[in-house]
Amino acid sequence: MTSRYDVIVIGAGHNGLVNAAYLARAGLKVLVLEQREIVGGATVTEELFPGYKYSVFSYVVSILRPEIIQDLELPRHGLTLLPLPSTLTPLPNGDYLYRDDDHYHTLREIGRHSPHDAEAYEEYGHAMYFMAKAIKPILRMVPSDPSSLDPRELKRLADLGSHFLGIGEDNLHTLIKLMTMSSADFLDEWFDTEPLKATMAASGIIGTFMGPRSPGTAYVLLHHYMGEIDGVYRAWGFAKGGTGGLAEAIASSARSFGAEIRTDSPVVAVVTRGNKATGVALEDGTELNAKRVVSSLDPRRTFLDLVPADLLPSEFVADIQRFRFRGSSGKVNLALDAAPEFTCWPGNGPHLRGAISISPSIDYLERAYDQAKYGEFSHRPFIDIVIPSMIDPDMAPPGKHVMSCFVQYAPYELAEGDWETRREEFGDAVIDTLSEYIPNLKDILLHRQVLTPLDIERITGLSEGNIFQGELDLSQLFFLRPAAGYANYRTPIRGYYQCGSGTHPGGGITGAPGRLAALEILRDLGL
């Protein structure tokens, strides 16, 4: 037994670190335990090929909450968010669709494909502003429990109700459509241009095991607009140094408030006495005491791996067992000897400094999903690309590049063979797909890292390789994340809390679960 901590946080992913930083900031003695040799979880930068730094898993900062940046003084701790203002959709016929923050240029560019869509695009952006504004407060709200009679819960529920009634009838209708429709159907109401619809729909399916025609995918379209609503703030961007740069900044902030972070310290169990968490046991047999324990791991690990099942109500265990993970994506990171040369837009240019999306049509995406539905990875997948070295030259040697490719779909379980034997085949499918748009890719390829959902699970601990710690669809959001009655970051075990993306408001680099959980813990402590 060593010194006693006020709180032990399991896992130094970005939410675990945010949680620890907030708790330490409030004066608590906090210890963060990380299984790996580096902090960050799925927000890490690693130099896997000499001189080339990969944002190994997550690759853009989506809607990191401004209050977190401010409270934790992240800029002072080295956080730099670089703009990622454009999206290029290269097309098989040698054409492309390009959008960026040059408003009229973007409208002309869409107008080249469809004059109707160019005008619809403006209207759509206007409508989405109201949607994003309606949803934004939810991101900083602790989910209410609709079945509870606790006055505080009832008030939260009433506040939520009046918030939605206050957004106006038209907006409410649009919001309900967003919550229930497929992204393809929703976008069909606005647009004709296939690459435009497909690229927008793609943002609704990232990380989910659903296709653009699956109901419920429209909601995730909003995420993009939530990043834009604050305009000049630009919460949407690329972290200098890769996403690991963000994790380092949060870790530095946490340490500055007095938190201790130990790497190479895998936790195997939460130690309990009666129905109360009293500490954790490490893989090497060490037991560490704490008054409270917070897990930033996903719900499966938090409840089914770390604590004895007999401490949890059976219906809760059943809920967690049914919580859907279903990893659907892989990641391919490339080291390149030169800049990639696109058939549709040769040479260097602004198109290489933004996102590049292999999503030529809704059919293309849906076909990619079809293969995955039946247990095969997409042979022509949706690929979301960024070239970090174009945005932050420090990511690769001068004139050389790293390319981050998020690849969907890759089901966790393959119908034929297994990932151990088919990993490189998956990598080849990605390179072959990319080569159709970037003919010089194979000539400039120096190194590749292929990550399947199985690899993501093994390295980061994310169950089934689900990047959001559980499917982001309506049935697993808000007061159902991760289970009814336990969406307020508490658990059936006293002194045991959850703060990962498996809690509200879910995945993506927001830091919001980590922060909201910390605020609830502090409330329980009367701080």
């Binding site: 401004p66 209050e67 940046i69 401010q70 800029p75 730099t80 968010l81 670089l82 703009p83 203002p85 923050d101 040059d102 240029h105 502003y129 504004k133 934004k136 609503i229 604050d230 305009g231 000049v232 703030y233 630009r234 200098k240 400094r353 932050d392 030259p393 001068p398 004139g399």
Partner: protein, 396 residues
């Protein structure tokens, strides 16, 4: 009509927006690309090339050059070694600031002074009776600022100059780029790692081309004044005619400022011999100054709240503003903010403000006027340390 700088044939080709500002009578690119944001991030994240030729430059040469410079500026020039540079304001007889710039010691008997305004007559008057000559080299010397964390790497790629790798902050060295003689000073107006390169106007294009080529793999971009304005506010650097008014141009006494009032008291060496304005400043040092130029920070959460009251998400301009705004404590106006910008690095809203003594201490909360939905409103602001952004690589 403004006239072109020696780099105009390059900058005009690159200036896609065709947006120019007039800077001391020269064409100066405001922003090369449709938004200045990328140029700003080049300054902070990679490297930016800025045409700063419109700065005024004077050489002061002769056996008594040091005595003349010592007379002009309140700093102690006897302590300026050869190759060293000092930042300094200079004052009139009443101790009110006329202008500010850098003073370089090129040799025992040779100095260069950069200034924001034409200063030949002022310097000549200050040097009357001394054995030294003031030469206006403003038009014959072209100048480029190479600013950003990759600036040193780019200069080294060019072969650079002797001692460049260790050249300390506010020092200079002589080098050669593409056969052209270039004076390299480790100075700038961005608060980042950076250099300024000074060359004969005839060599300007050759030097520009070499730097652009060497910088291609280091994320170098040409940057205009819109990006520079954001960076200089983050660096807490003052701009004449905006944050203070030259005493030679002020229309009222109250518009004049002493170095103490501008937060430049550290440049005033009262016990190091005679300089213009010394007696007045001695007096003022004893009395203390009534005003103080400070940094203000407005938290994003406060802007969010302010706009939410109008049912809006925050709508904050990306560009720096030079429209002054009153600053209040309670019902009392206690000063004015003169430069404001949202800081993309710090994610807060920054202002440079001149406040009454008594309200200018670090941590003091004041209220800054902001117009939202045509209504004058106020947002809380806190007196903060300047520079707001001060990365270690600025000096390392």
């Amino acid at each position: 009509m403004p006239i072109p700088t020696p780099f105009h044939s390059r900058t005009s080709e690159l200036n896609q927006t065709k947006e120019w500002r007039e800077w001391s009578g020269y064409w100066s690119a405001a922003t090369y690309q449709h938004t200045h944001e990328r140029e700003y991030f080049a300054i902070r994240n990679s490297a930016a090339l800025i045409d700063v030729s419109p700065l005024f430059k004077y050489d002061i040469v002769g056996p008594q050059a040091a005595a003349v410079v010592d007379r002009i500026v309140p700093r102690d020039i006897t302590r300026c070694r050869i190759g060293q540079i000092l930042y300094s304001p200079w004052c009139d007889d009443d101790g009110k600031v006329v202008d500010d710039g850098t003073v370089w010691r090129l040799a025992e008997d040779r100095f260069r002074v950069t200034a924001a305004d034409a200063s030949l007559r002022w310097f000549q008057d200050c040097g009357a009776g001394f054995e030294a000559e003031v030469v206006d080299v403003s038009h014959s010397i072209a100048a480029l600022a190479l600013q950003g964390p990759n600036a040193r790497k780019i200069l080294l790629e060019l072969g650079g100059a002797e001692g460049l790798i260790d050249l300390p902050y506010y020092h200079l060295t002589q080098g050669e780029i593409g056969g052209a003689a270039v004076t390299i000073t480790r100075t700038g107006y961005t608060g980042d790692l950076g250099y300024e390169l000074w060359m004969d106007s005839a060599d300007a294009l050759e030097v520009w081309d070499r730097i652009v080529l060497a910088g291609a793999d280091y994320g170098l971009l040409p940057a205009g004044l819109a990006a520079l304005d954001v960076a200089r506010i983050e660096a807490g650097l003052l701009l004449i005619e905006v944050d203070y008014i030259s005493s030679l141009k002020a229309l009222t006494e109250s518009r004049k400022s002493s170095p103490f009032e501008l937060g430049l008291g550290w440049t005033v060496a009262l016990d190091a011999g005679e300089f213009v304005g010394r007696r007045a400043l001695l007096d003022q040092a004893a009395r203390g100054s009534e005003w103080s130029l400070v940094g203000l920070e407005v938290a994003w959460s406060d802007l969010d709240r302010l706009y939410a009251a109008f049912d809006l998400a925050p709508q904050v301009a990306g560009r720096a503003s030079r429209d002054p705004a009153p600053v209040y404590v309670g019902q009392r106006q206690i000063g004015q903010a003169t430069s404001m910008t949202f800081s993309p690095m710090l994610k807060t809203y920054l202002a440079l403000a001149t406040l009454e003594r008594g309200y200018a201490d670090l941590g003091q909360t004041v209220e800054l006027e902001m117009t939202v939905e045509y209504q004058r409103t106020r947002v809380p602001a806190r007196v903060s340390r300047k520079p707001f952004y001060d990365p270690p690589h600025k000096r390392s």
